[in-house]
């Protein structure tokens, strides 16, 4: 990023790391506080049984951190990997803001817009969640029963609109990976393994396929 001022970027890294270590400390304290208050110890014997599950999710987390980094910007990366909800909330929010602001790739303006977008998103989400706790505490069943039927459809609701916004910009790059991913999913579903070809898996597969096809197209001079 030739136009990113190094002092600003290094500053974001400094504070991002500091906040991340504090957040990690707090997150690790939660099970500790629970155990001390309840006067119990976890069943440590369960950990070896769950080892493959834990290692699997650690690997997914690492791959996500590597692959989302170019998309989230410096500040956005630190914030997002503390607050989560990347592909369904933070990233679409950032993309929407970038599109409206019409910022160019690789510029400091884009970095700033992305960071602010993700930061505002994090604040609003935190407020919505805190406000939501009160009715949940009182009316848990009624709220969950009313809203649960449409909760699986939030992602199609977001990505239908977002696809229309970004299609023209990324159509050339995404056409081949999209077709390949569709084929993979169809084969997986026909083979009875539809559950394995879920959104989480296909995001990583899609990124890998896209990186390969884009590199081929780039070397051929088609991009």
């Amino acid at each position: 990023m030739e136009s990113v001022n190094r002092t600003y970027n290094d500053d974001m890294h400094h504070w991002g790391r500091l906040f991340t270590w504090i957040a990690l400390g707090l997150i690790l304290m939660v099970p500790l506080c629970y155990c001390l208050t309840a006067g119990v110890m976890p069943l440590w014997s369960k950990l070896p049984e769950c080892l493959m599950f834990i290692l699997g999710y650690l690997a997914i987390g690492l791959v996500e951190a590597l692959s989302y980094a170019p998309l989230l910007g410096t500040g956005g990366q630190y914030l997002t990997f503390i607050t989560g909800n990347i592909s369904n909330l933070k990233l679409p929010c950032a993309l929407n803001s970038q599109s409206i602001a019409q910022v160019k790739d690789g510029t400091e303006e884009k970095e700033i817009v992305t960071t602010i977008s993700i930061a505002v998103c994090s604040i609003v989400t935190t407020i919505v969640i805190v406000l939501g706790l009160i009715p949940l505490a009182i009316f848990q069943d009624k709220i969950v029963n009313a809203l649960l039927p449409i909760s699986p459809y939030v992602v199609p609701a977001i990505f239908g609109g977002l696809t229309c916004v970004l299609a023209s910009r990324y159509l050339k790059i995404a056409a081949v990976p999209f077709v390949l991913c569709i084929l993979l999913c169809v084969i997986g579903n026909v083979a009875g393994m539809g559950a394995a070809f879920n959104q989480g898996t296909m995001i990583l597969v899609g990124m890998a396929v896209s990186a390969v096809t884009t590199t081929i197209l780039y070397r051929r001079g088609n991009l």
Binding site: Y8, W21, K46, E109, V128, P149, V205
Partner: protein, 245 residues
């Protein structure tokens, strides 16, 4: 439902305060930098407004997720788990490593589930804390050597992300038309036809918003197009679910 201790609510409050403080700090730093490089402040104000409006509706499913998890882990722990990195489906799967269906939930099972959930999400933040700066400098060097390649690769990652999400969503939708799938963790029935209806209604509403912006010069609609699209398509989903049920 598991009891929540006061200390857990306090921890949740502290974490929420940290998230808000960190976000405000980054906003402050970014706005200051924007002024230094002469960015138009109206772009910044627009970004804040767009992001705030956009974030409201997609945050509601997180609250629903807390409602689902609190049956097992209580309100406080569910709040903390969904407040920080980790989505509902991962947390439920982590919990199911310890809690078997029908099992009475005790303090020990909650403590064990909490440890597993916490350990599983550490890699992303730890990578950021230790390696991200070095990784980003490598990406920046690549950007300087070959900006076009770097921008192309960034576009490739984004294109790949969209390809992955859309392919999984659309194909699962097509294959489950007429044969709803019930999620084991939530008990919610997933109708393929409703997924497809929601997606295409979302596309249509966004196209309609775009046409209005062009035809009537409704510049104001830029900030509201995506939230309008989300709310409109979720309403369509609600009607569709009522119809298929």
């Amino acid at each position: 439902m598991s009891e929540t201790f006061t200390i857990i609510y306090v921890m949740g409050g502290i974490i929420a305060a940290l998230i808000v403080a960190m976000s405000l700090f980054f906003i402050f730093k970014s706005v200051r930098r924007a002024k230094e490089i002469g960015m138009d402040m109206s772009v910044i104000k627009e970004t804040v407004r767009n992001s705030a409006i956009f974030s409201i509706v997609p945050s509601i499913p997180i609250v629903i997720g807390i409602g689902i998890m609190m049956q097992y882990l209580g309100l406080g722990i569910s709040w903390i788990r969904l407040e920080v990195i980790g989505a509902l489906q991962y947390e439920i799967i982590a919990m199911n490593q310890v809690v078997t269906p029908g099992q009475v939930i005790t303090y020990v099972t909650v403590a064990t589930a909490l440890v597993i959930m916490t350990l599983s999400i550490l890699s992303g933040p730890v990578f950021n804390a230790i390696f991200y700066k070095r990784y980003q400098h490598r990406l920046a060097e690549l950007q300087q050597k070959n900006e076009h390649l770097m921008n192309t690769l960034t576009g490739a990652l984004l294109g790949g992300l969209f390809s992955g999400i859309l392919s999984a969503m659309l194909v699962a939708g097509i294959f489950t038309i007429g044969t709803p799938v019930v999620a084991k963790d939530t008990g919610v029935a997933f109708y393929g036809e409703v997924t497809l209806i929601t997606f295409f209604v979302s596309c249509l509403i966004m196209v309609a918003c775009g046409l209005c912006m062009k035809r009537f010069s409704w510049k104001w609609m830029e900030s509201y197009a995506l939230p309008i699209t989300i709310v409109g398509s979720l309403l369509a989903a609600y009607v569709a679910v009522m119809y298929v049920e």
